[in-house]
């Protein structure tokens, strides 16, 4: 039953990504060219609601349905890993024109070539696991 819930959430997310064109290479290229407000509007409006809602959750001490704790732990403090890792991610985001969520959405939409990006992403994740102890964090 739990798995069905996650599957339905994923389907909903996938439709949003495709229909908003956030999964389109063209929209990512256009965003980094400052050619349209579209992508900034998506992230910005999600954040206005996101920040407001998270503040509400914290102030009212709202708990998840099963009574545990909200997954809102503070992230570890650092600059290097976020800045360097983030920059590497951004290079890939713009080169392939997709971030991780849309990779799956596009695979489902039938774009065979995206499987090469997925293979790269799995290899990149594995490579990070191999050399992470030698990287500044």
């Amino acid at each position: 039953m739990r798995y069905i819930t996650y599957l339905v959430i994923g389907i909903f997310f996938g439709i949003i990504m495709f229909k908003s064109e956030a999964a389109s290479w063209f929209r990512i290229y256009e965003m980094f060219n400052f050619g349209s407000f579209h992508m900034y509007g998506i992230i910005g409006s999600a954040l206005v609601l996101g920040v407001t809602g998270v503040q509400l959750i914290k102030r009212k001490n709202i708990k998840p349905l099963d009574g545990g704790e909200m997954s809102l732990q503070p992230k570890n403090k650092s600059v290097a890993r976020y800045l360097i890792g983030g920059t590497i991610f951004g290079l890939g985001w713009a080169l392939a024109g997709v971030c991780p969520g849309p990779i799956y959405v596009l695979a489902g939409a039938g774009y065979i070539s995206i499987l090469i990006v997925l293979l790269g992403a799995v290899l990149g994740t594995f490579l990070y696991g191999l050399i992470k102890d030698r990287l500044p964090h």
Binding site: F12, S20, Y40, L49, F89, G97, G101, Y104, L106, I114
Partner: protein
């Protein structure tokens, strides 16, 4: 009927993404679309190669269900709810055509010059897609999250590390598009 195929404007999509984040929070999880890659590595035995993949991945199987759902959502939207084209700023489309000979803006969802299956015969396209994916996977784990984990979940929780990561995303993206694209394409 035509309106079914129209793209959703940002002021519909953004709030719906926030809604997905809150639904996940309410069931004790968080929005993030890249940690499933680590789960997948662990599930196929990468723990033998690195301790990074030695964790209770079975507890993280839920995120594999989310991305399976995302793929199904992509199938539904592309098959029933879209005419498979994306209109962008005409100036950007013109520039893509002039500078990089990418002429499919407005005619396709992804540039056919890079993504059409028959163009995989060009080794450059394979290298671009593979390296792009590699950087995305490596960078997402190094930074501890991707667009959804940092730019949506993390910033919603006012996390400074997420802001630094998002600044990194844009440094990388701008360098790629403005400095490296002219060399690569």
């Amino acid at each position: 009927m035509e309106y079914i195929y129209e793209p959703w404007p940002w002021y519909v999509a953004g709030p719906l993404i926030a809604l997905v984040m809150f639904i996940l929070l309410l069931i004790g999880k968080q929005l993030g679309m890249s940690s499933n890659l680590r789960t997948a590595c662990a599930a196929v035995g990468a723990g033998k190669a690195s301790d990074f993949f030695k964790f209770n991945w079975k507890a993280e199987r839920w995120n594999l269900m989310v991305v399976l759902g995302a793929a199904i959502g992509g199938f539904i939207a592309s098959t029933y709810l879209s005419n498979g084209t994306v209109k962008i700023n005409p100036r950007t489309a013109q520039q893509l055509s002039d500078d990089y000979n990418i002429k499919s803006a407005g005619k396709a969802y992804l540039p056919t010059e890079i993504f059409a299956a028959e163009n995989l015969a060009d080794p450059l396209n394979i290298v671009i897609l593979l390296i792009g994916g590699l950087l995305v996977g490596f960078g997402a784990r190094y930074a501890g999250g991707c667009t959804s984990g940092h730019a949506i979940s993390g910033l919603s929780n006012l996390q400074l590390p997420s802001l630094i990561a998002v600044i990194g995303f844009f440094i990388g993206g701008l360098v790629m598009i403005h400095l490296l694209y002219p060399i690569i394409f």
